[in-house]
Symmetry: C2
Subunit: 363 residues, 2 copies
């Protein structure tokens, strides 16, 4: 059996993208949007990137029931049993655990790449090569591998990974995971050459991640160990079990619960162009600008005395703007946001304020 | 026969309201909008004001064919022959001439009040009394009467009427009509007590306005004299005649072509609250403000660090705004405008730019 046959790809696709509200909405988050105007949504682009890397039936989408129709419509190639529905939002650790137990029950020798569905990756050939190398690495040892992106600027919006001893080629032990730094610290990180952006893309064998979860988050492991492997091979029984058991998992990230605690964590340092599309400013920075340095998403803009803005407007809309600098103008599905780019960290609070004042209809 | 039976009201309702673009649109101009959130559109409010002043069947709406459905929907009380459709836009002189010939053919003793459909009038009892006095005045003499509003501030957005010799009570000869003054001149106008705002509301007998049009704009009179009075009494024949003849009229205002030239022009000075709703700033000024001094039309607004704005948004929309001062934010039917109030005189140019760049779909 070719080693490719044991390789799986898990695309996590349950996020609600609230930082891009109102353009990204709880009912249609950013992974389901053609965010870059390429004709493919971010989820579709994520799928396209890994399609030839693993056997087609080894691709799994982890998402929420409310996005079932959207996922099916965007990826009609997938069989019904390739889409797993989380009955509740519980952050990444329970999601990744379920995927591991699910895959292990089918193939005890499986290795897995876990990837978000809403990031931008520009150099796909390099991405493919990095993942193939990563599979080889984790299949040869009991390792939890995370991909670290070579930083190109002192970015304060990302977490960083400090590399330790080199193991081979691009692979090193992880020394520390860091929180988002301030600008001064980010400049130091960049200068040392030891720090890499934490991409949230992971590789491991099913056995390694199960072992790590059993050791570092036994409560979550116990939930998934409470079903027989046969349950994970029967879609109806698995669904019934998950609907009951999954909501009982604690809500915690895989980074915090496992990666920052385990001693077999490695980083592959990679150089494919990457952006987590985590903020409006990030999207502005990487988007092509018009002659006024404005960025437009999906709309016609007539601008006067205006620069440095990003306009993201759903529908065939015309935006006419005068005297506006460095703003986000986002308009979609019943909500118009006009907010300085420098204040975008307040958007989550605005969503909360809107909910308190008007209920959930604008979420 | 009661004198009321000879009184007619002509509501001019064919304007396109481009100064309020995109909230007011060529396909649904401001007179058809519930602009003040009262539950009645400006046209309906205009109708309500004059409904009891003249016999119901003596009310005429002058509008454009494209607004036929809207007028019928908003004023279902009207019979089909009470709505006259201009086949082309030709400013006020041809419109008023047609109305005069139409009414005169039915009732040679008719007197007429002509009123715009898109102004705000707040003191309706005083309005009614002023119009009844005005009818009495014009029925007693060969007079062209215009209503002059006592100014309450040095407004630079209106034309003014200077009063001459008093005839009786609130009625005087008109000395001059003036263009919109600058602020300095407007302050002088206010101080003298001789200047009144030109409201665009006129009263006259059908015979008087016909005589004045024949004398001062004989080209237009000739068009309407080219049909027999019987034509104006037969809706199908009148329609056929107007569709052919009306587009041949020159496009000119009644003020410029008749009122500024005739020597039998009088002004009734009145004090009912009046605003021509001609600019966003005027609308802002007269609208109730929230605690942040923002004005909202028809939408929910969450504002942060924002004041002095007017938000006019169609549909059940939420506007979330941060760091915006003294702007117009207007969103309707596929167009979003964000423009400083101080730059609103540029809006007409923006509409033109939009047409040049994207065709007429955003008009």
């Amino acid at each position: 059996m070719d080693k490719k046959e044991h390789r799986y790809c898990v695309i996590m696709c349950g996020g609600i993208g609230s930082r891009f509200w109102p353009y990204s909405r709880a009912r249609l988050p950013k992974q389901f949007i053609d965010f870059l105007g390429t004709g493919r949504t971010l989820l579709q682009m994520s799928y396209d990137r890994i399609r030839d890397l693993v056997p087609h039936s080894n691709i799994l989408i982890m998402t929420n029931e409310r996005y079932a129709d959207e996922v099916r419509a965007q990826l009609p190639e997938l069989a019904a049993d390739q889409i797993l529905f989380e009955p509740a939002r519980r952050n990444t650790a329970p999601c990744i655990a379920w995927a591991a137990w699910h895959v292990a029950a089918r193939d005890p020798e499986a290795s897995i790449v876990v990837t978000p569905s809403d990031h931008l990756i520009t150099r796909e050939a390099e991405f493919t090569r990095s993942l193939l190398d990563g599979f080889d690495f984790v299949e040869a040892r009991d390792a939890l591998l995370t991909l670290g992106i070579s930083p190109t600027r002192p970015e304060t919006g990302y977490g960083y990974i400090q590399v330790g001893d080199q193991v081979e080629g691009d692979f090193s032990k992880v020394k520390t995971f860091t929180e988002k730094p301030n600008l001064e610290l980010a400049k130091v990180f960049l200068a040392t050459g030891e720090f890499f952006w934490n991409s949230g893309i992971f590789l491991w064998t099913a056995a390694s991640i199960q072992r790590a979860i059993r050791r570092h988050v036994p409560d979550i492991a116990a939930v998934f160990d409470s079903a027989e492997p046969a349950t994970y091979r029967n879609p109806a029984k698995e669904r019934e079990f998950i609907d009951l058991a999954y909501p009982g998992c604690m809500s915690i990230s895989i980074d915090f619960s496992v990666m920052e605690k385990a001693d077999n964590v490695f980083v592959e340092t990679v150089t494919f162009g990457w952006n987590d599309l985590g903020t409006w400013s990030a999207l502005y920075d990487l988007s092509p600008k018009n002659s006024d340095t404005n960025v437009t998403q999906n709309c016609n803009v007539l601008s006067y005395n205006s620069s440095g803005n990003i306009f993201a407007v759903r529908g065939e809309k015309l935006v006419v703007v005068d005297g506006l600098e460095d703003y986000i103008v986002a308009d979609a599905d019943g909500v118009l946001l006009i907010c300085p780019k420098a204040r975008e960290q307040e958007i989550k609070r605005m969503v909360t304020d809107a909910r308190l004042k008007f209920g959930d209809k604008y979420e």
